[in-house]
């Protein structure tokens, strides 16, 4: 099987648009300061959780955005699809 996604470029643009809409929706308002609970252990753990959550969210958001960009690029120039999108996928897929 070759590396080609056999699909209408217009459909690719639609998919890219949907993916592009997903990423921003993962953003939530900045986390609250929990130090007022006056338990240093709890504060550190909750902050660590929030921080890791944000790192994961940014990572997923970046992957989705890169994927959407790759799909858009493909939709705009279908002839370059194989090289462009497959390279983008190869970069982000293992994560």
């Amino acid at each position: 099987m070759d590396n080609t996604i056999r699909v209408d470029p217009a459909e690719l643009a639609g998919v890219a648009n949907e993916l592009g809409n997903v990423a921003p929706r993962l953003t939530v308002s900045s986390p609250p300061d929990v130090s007022a609970c006056q338990s240093s252990g709890v504060t550190r753990v909750l902050n660590a959780f929030t921080q890791e959550l944000e790192t994961n969210r940014q990572d997923i958001q970046e992957v989705l955005q890169v994927t959407a960009d790759g799909v858009i690029k493909t939709a705009n120039d279908f002839s370059e699809f194989d090289a462009e999108l497959t390279a983008e996928f190869a970069r982000v897929m293992p994560r």
Partner: protein, 354 residues
């Protein structure tokens, strides 16, 4: 940072935790919304795509969906833990307010004896004793509340750390034996922990999610036995997913194991496992958070209190009558702020194959 103390185990604004819970719950919801969107993209738009690129694309979306599912679940469970914590601490706060009022009233009565009591010395004894008993009872109850607050803190930390280690941090470490440098760092690091404990400068709660302490505990003999037991149960299909299981280690009467640990630590070229010897008896739970064919993701949570009493105790013998020879020095240092009780929580995640 100011922390709650035995004088006020109800200290703290639970509104801050409630705000955190709200933010985390919102994050769970946004993850679930994203999952719906990605599933729609994967199923509706691409079910007729062909080629290796299409396969990779769908596979990638699947991995993103799985990761979002883990994030959402971690947020939901942590938020639930926060709810339990808030309820418990608010109860503690109410009780603490009542006890403080009881102490204040009794103290006021002591400081301002009635005219009748002042006139009659005999009469003054009874109210004074009553007030002092009331203060003693309230202080004792306050100590119980402090322990309950400490337990509530530990429970919430264990819940959140478990999610952090098991679901949020996706770079699960497979268990691998420590090399010489790691083992050396682990054993030397123990002296640092004990030093801060002896100096009274250790934080009241310490937690470790990576570094030498989780590594060395994961390599301990007890954990190797526990890991083998978990694998046997996984093979037999006897483990329920996401159910914390107790695996406490109690050395208080197991003198042989304690001394063999100490001998290993002291004499053998491998440096033994001094961190585990230091931790000694501990509370332990493990939770199988995910099973993928013959691989299981397991989160281990170890909790332990380092106390002067524990340091002075002769294993297997009643503390009241037999103490280690250094007990008088430890007790003296304790009175001057050293050897103050500290709690350790150690969490790590492994992938085991069965």
């Amino acid at each position: 940072m100011k922390v709650w103390s035995i004088d006020d185990p109800g200290a703290g604004d639970m509104g801050a935790i409630a705000s955190w819970r709200k933010a985390v719950t919102a994050q769970a919801q946004s993850c679930e919304d994203a999952i719906d969107d990605l599933e729609n993209v994967a199923s509706a738009s691409t079910d007729h795509w062909e080629g290796k690129g299409a396969t990779e694309f769908i596979s990638s979306l699947g991995r993103r969906i799985h990761r979002l599912e883990l994030m959402a679940e971690a947020c939901r469970i942590s938020a639930a833990g926060a709810t339990i914590y808030i309820d418990r601490v608010e109860d503690i706060q109410k009780s603490a307010v009542q006890l403080k009022r009881q102490i204040a009233e009794a103290q006021f009565a002591l400081d301002h004896p009635s005219i009748e009591a002042q006139a009659d010395y005999k009469l003054s004894i009874a109210p004074a004793k009553e007030s002092r008993d009331s203060i003693d009872a309230a202080n004792s109850a306050m100590e119980v509340l402090a322990y309950e607050r400490h337990t509530a803190d530990q429970n919430l930390m264990a819940v959140v750390l478990g999610q952090l280690s098991g679901k949020i941090d996706t770079d699960h470490a497979r268990f691998t034996p420590m090399d010489f440098e790691d083992r050396l760092a682990a054993n030397l690091g123990t002296f640092g922990i004990l030093g801060s404990f002896a100096g009274g400068i250790a934080p009241r709660d310490r937690f470790y999610t990576d570094g030498y302490l989780p590594k060395s505990l994961a390599e301990s003999g007890h954990m190797k036995d526990l890991r083998a037991d978990i694998i046997a149960k996984l093979k037999a299909g006897e483990i329920d997913l996401q159910v914390p299981t107790s695996a406490n280690r109690n050395l208080s009467s197991d003198v042989g194991t304690l001394f063999s640990d100490a001998l290993n630590a002291a004499y053998f070229g491998t440096f033994g496992n001094l961190p585990e010897t230091m931790v000694g008896s501990f509370g332990a739970t493990y939770e199988v958070v995910e099973i993928d064919e013959n691989r299981a993701t397991v989160t281990f949570t170890i909790t332990n209190d380092t106390t002067a009493e524990s340091l002075n105790r002769v294993p297997g013998l009643p503390y009241e009558y037999f103490k280690m020879p250094w007990a008088p020095g430890v007790n003296l240092a304790h009175d001057f702020g050293g050897y103050q009780s500290t709690g350790q929580t150690v969490v790590w995640t492994e992938i085991v194959e069965f």
